[in-house]
Subunit: 359 residues, 2 copies
């Protein structure tokens, strides 16, 4: 079926036609100061006339040893990925930080929570890769290592010799839990993010925590427990539901379970705003008023959090800064910089209408 298009013009075609060397034509495009304006114009004109659109990007990449793109790896497919508002914001910040028009974004979607296939990574034409919140056993990470590409990890996991942008997850969770404890809540439930990429959700057993592959979830959990522990609330007394993904629906399901327990929690700590929004919905459906009968806290502070009804009390992380930092680190690693210490994005608590003192 392949249509043989007529042979495309190359640098040589133009060079011969104009009667100059190939180097000169190359310079016409890349170093205009290396030739006289007149000649340059003649070259460009001839190129246009011959339908030559400029140096071939692939050949240029080979010659310069610069692929000119940044690979971005995420753990799921695009639709679940972008239903996560936090990701969109941070990715936008990342891409605008890097985008000077010279560099583009190669998206490597994950396959089933495990991140991209190793083969996708092996074949990717890229200079640097940014990994977003992958499980620590993702095959793609091994592939990146094999290719010895500079790596920037966002959120998790820890990877030796890579740069890293993280958030003070534990600290944020601590603030959230301390806030509800301070409001007098003693029966607190947790709706958490995934512990492993196996798609399993539900009430969490201690063994499952042992075998977790997502550090962020563990950190936030630790933060919650620490703050609650300070108020004498033991970890065992804090029911913990694992949501297999960051979707409202899953938060709703988790909260439903929590609200069915005895004693019923009067406060729910959620590891993301999406989960929290689902929890609020679950409360409404059961006729529980928020914050009257149940307090709900989120994490991230996405735009939806402040629009929600009631507006969500949540832990704010600066998503734009996160994306920008990741972009800058990637750029710096391209220049051969050492990974350096992890960059930590700070957090603070945004107290809004979804939490109130226990009655």
């Amino acid at each position: 079926m392949t249509q043989d298009r007529e042979r495309r013009p190359t640098l040589d075609t133009i060079a011969q036609r104009v009667g100059v060397s190939r180097a000169t034509v190359s310079n016409a495009y890349n170093r205009p100061d290396q030739l006289s304006g007149a000649l340059r114009e003649r070259i460009i004109a001839t190129a246009k006339q011959l339908g030559y659109a400029g140096p071939d990007p692939v050949a240029r990449s080979l010659a310069t040893k610069q692929a000119g793109s940044v690979a971005f790896m995420l753990c799921d497919g695009l639709s679940s990925a972008f239903s996560d508002p936090a990701l969109s914001i941070m990715l936008d910040a990342l891409s605008s930080t890097m985008d000077t028009g010279e560099r583009s974004l190669l998206l490597l979607p994950g396959v089933s929570g495990d991140g991209p296939r190793a083969q996708s990574v092996m074949r990717a034409q890229t200079d640097v890769v940014v990994a977003y919140s992958l499980p620590d056993n993702a095959p793609a990470l091994e592939a990146v290592r094999a290719r010895d590409l500079p790596l920037v990890v966002v959120d998790q996991p820890f990877v030796p010799k890579s740069a890293r942008v993280r958030v003070d997850d534990r600290g944020g969770a601590y603030l959230a839990a301390k806030h509800v404890a301070g409001l007098g809540h003693r029966h607190v439930g947790i709706v958490g993010l995934g512990l492993s990429a196996d798609g399993v959700g539900g009430p969490v057993s201690p063994q499952r925590i042992e075998q977790a592959h997502f550090e962020v979830t563990l950190d936030r959990l630790a933060g919650y427990r620490e703050a609650l522990g300070e108020q004498g609330i033991l970890a065992d007394a804090v029911p913990f539901w694992e949501a297999p993904g960051n979707a409202r629906e899953m938060g709703r399901e988790g909260a439903r379970w929590l609200f069915g327990l005895e004693p019923r929690p009067t406060a729910v700590l959620c590891m993301s705003d999406e989960l929290a929004l689902g929890a609020i919905r679950a409360a409404n459906e059961l006729g529980l008023s928020v914050p009257g009968e149940v307090s709900v806290v989120g994490f991230d502070d996405t735009p939806a959090a402040s629009w929600a009804d009631p507006p969500l009390t949540t832990v704010r992380q600066d998503l734009v800064a996160k994306g920008r930092q990741a972009g800058e680190l990637a750029l710096r690693m391209l220049d051969g910089a050492r990974p350096g210490r992890p960059v930590t994005i700070g957090v603070d608590l945004q107290v809004r209408g979804s939490t109130a003192a226990v009655v």
Copy 2:
């Protein structure tokens, strides 16, 4: 600053070390049937030992004349792009259609509603490009033409010699308007998508419609007007607000304006679900009940539409089919297929709780 990493091993390195020709090493990776299993294993082992991660993707691309990626152009930056749920879904379908692990997705975000920079396109290492709902004067489209890359256009605009996936926008809008007219509504307002990429919003003048760059908006408008016209409602009597982007906030703003008019519309036709959700919020804020006092219709049928309160009456388009078709067309164009006729995705009306008969 550039760190000189020790020279990386290449095919030759391995070939010399093993004592075979370079071609054989290449075959070991690409055509395992061309050599004996034993030799292949020896080669792979040596490669591993030398830290060779397989053929360099860029060099391979140059030699095979296959960049191995699909470029996806969109009109805005990533954050606004992905806050559009319709895009996420369709892009996910597109990427999973194309992703065999051999091909990746090059994302070319737009700059300010105008689509990607021409230069981004000129430098993109790609075999085929998919353009998503760009204005008809986008510079990127000209660049694609200059490079003579196969092009698949989704939604808009019309581009000669390109393949196209579109939606029956006019038909869908017609259904929506006919539905509200059938419910007895005579005062109908429209909250529309952009007419041009200039970021301008507000009440729309006839001249602005003349100079529109977005065909989809025009088609939907035509569909609305046709159905309303059949009920004797003249175009002039139908207030039309242009939202400069597809965001809830903008729908809210537009609806506010509509609700301030005299006579106040009893039905609002919105060109997207996001806009419609914003319109519902505006109604709530003004104490107007939906659908009691105001009916609202959306377009797209994104997941949020059915979750909304009240669930949104909207025009369903099959976003997954749209992405899949776009992917398949792109693949086919890679094989040199002719563009063919546009593929049109059908629509139907989902009647839910946001519309009711006029009282």
